[in-house]
Symmetry: C2
Subunit: 117 residues, 2 copies
Amino acid sequence: MPTPERTAGSGRRLAHPDREDIQLEAVLHALADPIRLRIVCELTDGHTEMACIAFNLPVSKSTSTHHFRVLREAGVIRQHYEGTARMSRLREDDLEVLFPGLLSAVLEAYRRSHRPA
Amino acid sequence: MPTPERTAGSGRRLAHPDREDIQLEAVLHALADPIRLRIVCELTDGHTEMACIAFNLPVSKSTSTHHFRVLREAGVIRQHYEGTARMSRLREDDLEVLFPGLLSAVLEAYRRSHRPA
C-alpha cells in the first residue's frame, strides 16, 4: 500500500510506494529517460535533498513535475514539501536493499555516456 | 549507423545498432518490461542462443515479435536466422563494455523479485 504523506504546514499529500511495493520494471522505466536520469544523477552529486526548482531542467514546469512524479511513484525518489518548495531525495537505501548495485551501475553508465569528450 | 545483417540462406535483414550507438536510455527502456526481462533472463540461464519459439511466452506471436524487436533495436540482443528460426543471444560483451555491471545488477534484481516464496 502506498503511504500518503502529509506535511504539517501544507496538508498536501504525496503518494509513495512502500519499499516492498517497489517494482523493478517501474524503476527501470523511471530511469529510462534522459531528464529523469539527469535528476537522479544530480541528486547523488553531493546533494542529499534538492528543491525541484533547483534542477534548472530544459523542460517546462509541467513536464518537470511529470518527471518527478514518475520517479516518486516508481519509488526512486522521496518528496516532501518545505513551505511551497517540493524537496526531493533519492531512496538509495530502499533501492540498494531491493536491487543491490542497480542504481550505482545505472549512474556509472550515465556518467560514462555523458562524459565530456 | 545500424548494421543490417543478411543471412546467406534467407536474405532477411535484421537491423542492429553498432556498439557505440547503443544508448543507456534505450537499454533501460528495453529492460523495463516483465516479458522482456524474462527473455533476457532465460538467455543467461545456460543458453547462449535460443530460437524465439523456444521461450514459450504468455503472449501472442506478434507481441512476442515486438518484444524481441525492442530488445534487438536497443542493442540488448543480437538476432539472426537459422533457416526459418530466428535465433537470439544477449549482447553481454557489448553491454558490459558500455555499462559495466548494469546487466548483472538487473538480472540479479529480476531473479530476487521472481524467486519462489
